[in-house]
C-alpha cells in the first residue's frame, strides 16, 4: 500500500500500540537545551530513574547565553543558573554537550543539522516548538513539553497519536527578491495560524525541490506558526549533498546503504493524503507581518487591513498602533535583528553581505542593528570570509551565537514601545522582551533594507533588482 514519508517513518518507530489509538513511539534523536530541560531532570531524580539511552540525547545552550560575551559567570544570575543546571545534568547522566567552551554551541536547530545529527528517516524530539526545522531532511521532528522530555529521557519513547498529513505543493518559480521566509509567511497568511492544527505538512513542488537545504529549513521551521506540529520535505540529492561528510554522518559503504534507505522512505508517488493544497509560488511577494499573530502579514507594498469588525485584527492594530489603511512601507524601526533558528544560517548572512558589499550602505543612525549567528560554526565561517568586518563597517553589531532577541530571555531585548524588524519567527505580544514592544517579521534581506533605510522598505527598491 502506498504511503507518505510521515507514515513510513512513524510506522518504523512504533514500539507498541496503546489504548485509544495512541502509540508508543521510539525517538531516534533527542535534543535538549537549558530552558525546558531542568525540571525534567529533577523529575527523573525525584522518581529514582535514569536516562535510558544517553547516547541518543545531545545538549547545547542557546536561549540563555548572552551574545556580547560568553565569559562566565553570566551577568544575569538566572541565565547562569539554567546553564549550570544543564552542565550538572549532562555530567551526571553522561550526555554529549556542545558547549561554548569547546566552540561548539549554537541554536539547537542550527547545530543538529550542521553536525549531521539530523538525518532522514529519524524521529526527532526537542523541548522547543521549532523542532520541525529538522523535517527539512525528511525526518519526523516535533516540539515537546517538559513532561515529555522526562519521558524521552527515561524511556527513549513517547505517547503519540498519528497526525493527518497535508501535502502543500508550491508551484512555479519565485520572483527575484522573494525568499524562503516570504514563502513561509505567505503560506501562513493564506492558511491561517491554526490551518495546520492536527496535521503534519509535507512541503513539495518545484519551488521546494529547487530550494537549498537552508531554505528548506526556514520553511519547515515555520510549520508550527501555521499550526502544524511537524513539517517535512522528502529527501533528495540536495539533502544528500548537504549531509555527506558531516561529523555524525556515516562514510564509505555505510553511506551508500544509508542513501538507499533514505530513498526508500520518500513518499510514494501515489501516497494518500488527508489534504492537498497548491500554492502558486510565482505570485508570492516579499512579506512582512503587521500584527501579533504570524498569519497577520501583507506584501511589503501593502497596507494594514481595515476590517475593524474582526476583533483579532482590531486588537492587533490597536496594540501595534496602526491607522487603518496605512502603508506598511515607511514604518520607522528602532531595532533590526538578523538571526534565529529561522534565519540564522550561513546563507542568510551571506545573502545580506552580498547586497552590502561594495555599496557603501550604512545602518541608519537611530537603528540598533544586530547580526547574531545561529551557531559558533556559522560565526567562525562568517569571520573566515571576512563578513564580520563588512557588517561592522556597515554599522551592524556582530554578536556571539544564540537565540538572542527571538525570545529575549538573555540580555538582548526591546525596550518600551520599540519597533523591531526581525528575521525571527514570532510577532506575539511581548515576544522580544518588552511587554509593549512591537515585532515586524520579514526575511533577513528585508531586515537589512529596513536597518539601512531606518524604516520598512521594499528590498527590491533599495538594493535594485535582486536575484
Amino acid at each position: 500500500m502506498p504511503k507518505s514519508l510521515y507514515e513510513k517513518v512513524f510506522d518504523r518507530h512504533v514500539v507498541r500500540p496503546l489504548t485509544g489509538g495512541q502509540h508508543q513511539l521510539f525517538i531516534g534523536l533527542h535534543l535538549i537545551h537549558e530552558v525546558t530541560s531542568p525540571p525534567a531532570f529533577q523529575d527523573l531524580r525525584d522518581r529514582g530513574l535514569t536516562v535510558r539511552h544517553p547516547e541518543r540525547t545531545f545538549a547545547t545552550q542557546d536561549h540563555a547565553n548572552p551574545t556580547t560575551s560568553l565569559l562566565r559567570p553570566y551577568a544575569d544570575r538566572e541565565n547562569e543558573g539554567q546553564v549550570q543546571a544543564l552542565e550538572r545534568n549532562v555530567e551526571a547522566f553522561g550526555i554529549r554537550y556542545f558547549s561554548p567552551e569547546r566552540g561548539e554551541h549554537g541554536i539547537v536547530h542550527v547545530i543538529g543539522p550542521e553536525l549531521g545529527l539530523t538525518q532522514p528517516g529519524m524521529t526527532i524530539a526537542c523541548g522547543d516548538s521549532h523542532t520541525p526545522t529538522h523535517g527539512a531532511f525528511g525526518a519526523i521532528a516535533f516540539g515537546i513539553g517538559t513532561s515529555q522530555i522526562r519521558d524521552v529521557l527515561a524511556t527513549q519513547t513517547l505517547v503519540m497519536e498519528k497526525l493527518k498529513v497535508r501535502r502543500i505543493e508550491i508551484t512555479g518559480r519565485l520572483r527575484p527578491g522573494v525568499y524562503a521566509k516570504d514563502v513561509a509567511l505567505h503560506l501562513i497568511n493564506v492558511m491561517g495560524a491554526k490551518g495546520g492544527v492536527g496535521f503534519a505538512h509535507e512541503f513539495a513542488g518545484p519551488v521546494v525541490e529547487r530550494f537549498s537545504m537552508e531554505e528548506r529549513m526556514t520553511l519547515c521551521n515555520m510549520a508550527i506558526e501555521g499550526g502544524a506540529r511537524c513539517g517535512y520535505v522528502n529527501p533528495d540529492a540536495t539533502t544528500y549533498a548537504w549531509l555527506r561528510g558531516r561529523p555524525y554522518v556515516p562514510g564509505g559503504a555505510a553511506w551508500e546503504r544509508a542513501v538507499r534507505d533514505w530513498d526508500s522512505i520518500r513518499s510514494d508517488i501515489d501516497a494518500p493524503y488527508d489534504d492537498l493544497v497548491t500554492i502558486d509560488g510565482s505570485t508570492i511577494e516579499p512579506m512582512v507581518t503587521w500584527g501579533v499573530s504570524v498569519d497577520q502579514s501583507v506584501p511589503v507594498t501593502g497596507t494594514i487591513p481595515t476590517d475593524t469588525e474582526d476583533a483579532g485584527i482590531a486588537d492587533a492594530a490597536d496594540f501595534m498602533g496602526w491607522q487603518p489603511g496605512q502603508a506598511i512601507a515607511g514604518t520607522p524601526i528602532d531595532v533590526a535583528f538578523i538571526g534565529s533558528c529561522t534565519n540564522g544560517r550561513l546563507s542568510d548572512f551571506q545573502a545580506v553581505a552580498d547586497l552590502l558589499a561594495g555599496r557603501d550602505l550604512k545602518v541608519a543612525p537611530h537603528v540598533k542593528a544586530l547580526i547574531v549567528p545561529g551557531s559558533q560554526q556559522v560565526r567562525n565561517e562568517l569571520v573566515a570570509r571576512g563578513l564580520d568586518k563588512l557588517f561592522v563597517t556597515a554599522g551592524f553589531e556582530f554578536r556571539e551565537a544564540g537565540c538572542s532577541m527571538c525570545l529575549a530571555i538573555n540580555p538582548d531585548r526591546l525596550e518600551g514601545r520599540q519597533v523591531c524588524a526581525s528575521s525571527s519567527n514570532r510577532n506575539f505580544k511581548g515576544r522580544q522582551g518588552s511587554p509593549t514592544g512591537r515585532t515586524l517579521l520579514m526575511s533577513p534581506v528585508m531586515v537589512a533594507a529596513a536597518a539601512i533605510a531606518g524604516a520598512v522598505t521594499d528590498p527590491r527598491t533599495l538594493f535594485g533588482t535582486l536575484q
Partner: protein
C-alpha cells in the same frame, strides 16, 4: 494515579483567538529551573496592560478566583512548546480548558499534567461563555465518560481524542510508568532501525 472522569466548579472566560503561550506566560518567567510559583505570573503582561487602562482581566476578577474551568475560543495555546503555560494555569487553579481548538503541543502538555483540553463548537463556546459571564457563582461539570459539560439545564457535547480521554479515565496521563512497562520491546524497536545499526 487516580482516574479523572469528572471536573466541576465555577468557570471563567477568556475571549479571543490565537492566544499564544507567550501571552499565557511571558518568556521572562521561563528563567527558573522549576515550575514552582508560575501561578503568580499567568497572563502577567495582559493583566498589567489592562490595569493600566483601568480595566480588569478575567484572571484578576476576585469573584472568579476559585474558577476551575477556563472557556476560550480558537487555537488557544498556539506557539511555543513551553510546558510553563499549562503548568501556570493548573497551579493557578484551572483543572480543565474548554474551547473551539487548541495548539497541538499545548494540548499534549496539558494532558501530560492531567488537565484536559476539550473542544466544543463555535456556537457552544459562545453559549458557554455567555452563561459563565452572566453568573460568576454558576458551577459547571465536565464529564469525560459521557463527553459533556453540564450546568443545570445546559448540556453541551465536548470532544477530545480517544487517546487523551483514555489516559485521563485510566489515570495514566503521567505516561512514564506506561512507557517503561514496554521493557525490552523498546530496545527491540531500536534494533530494527537502520540508522542505529549502520544501515546493515
Amino acid at each position: 494515579m487516580a482516574h479523572r472522569s469528572r471536573i466541576s466548579g465555577t468557570a471563567l472566560v477568556l475571549r479571543g483567538n490565537d492566544i499564544d503561550t507567550d501571552r499565557i506566560i511571558p518568556a521572562r518567567f521561563l528563567k527558573g529551573v522549576s515550575f514552582a510559583g508560575l501561578e503568580a505570573h499567568v497572563f502577567a503582561d495582559e493583566r498589567s496592560a489592562l490595569r493600566a487602562r483601568s480595566r480588569m482581566h478575567p484572571f484578576d476578577d476576585a469573584q472568579r478566583r476559585g474558577a476551575r474551568i477556563l472557556v476560550v475560543n480558537k487555537n488557544f495555546g498556539c506557539g511555543s512548546s513551553r510546558e510553563h503555560a499549562p503548568q501556570a494555569l493548573q497551579r493557578w487553579g484551572i483543572a480543565a480548558v474548554v474551547g473551539e481548538s487548541f495548539g497541538d503541543i499545548f494540548a499534549g502538555n496539558s494532558v501530560a499534567i492531567g488537565m484536559p483540553c476539550l473542544r466544543v463548537s463555535e456556537r457552544d463556546a459562545a453559549l458557554l461563555q455567555e452563561a459563565v459571564e452572566a453568573d460568576g457563582a454558576r458551577t459547571f461539570a465536565v464529564d469525560l465518560e459521557e463527553k459533556t459539560i453540564r450546568s443545570g439545564n445546559l448540556v453541551v457535547p465536548v470532544d477530545l481524542s480517544d487517546g487523551a480521554r483514555a489516559q485521563l479515565l485510566e489515570g495514566t496521563w503521567d505516561a512514564t510508568a506506561v512507557l517503561l512497562a514496554a521493557g525490552p520491546q523498546i530496545e527491540k524497536t531500536a534494533a530494527r532501525l537502520p540508522y542505529l545499526n549502520g544501515w546493515a
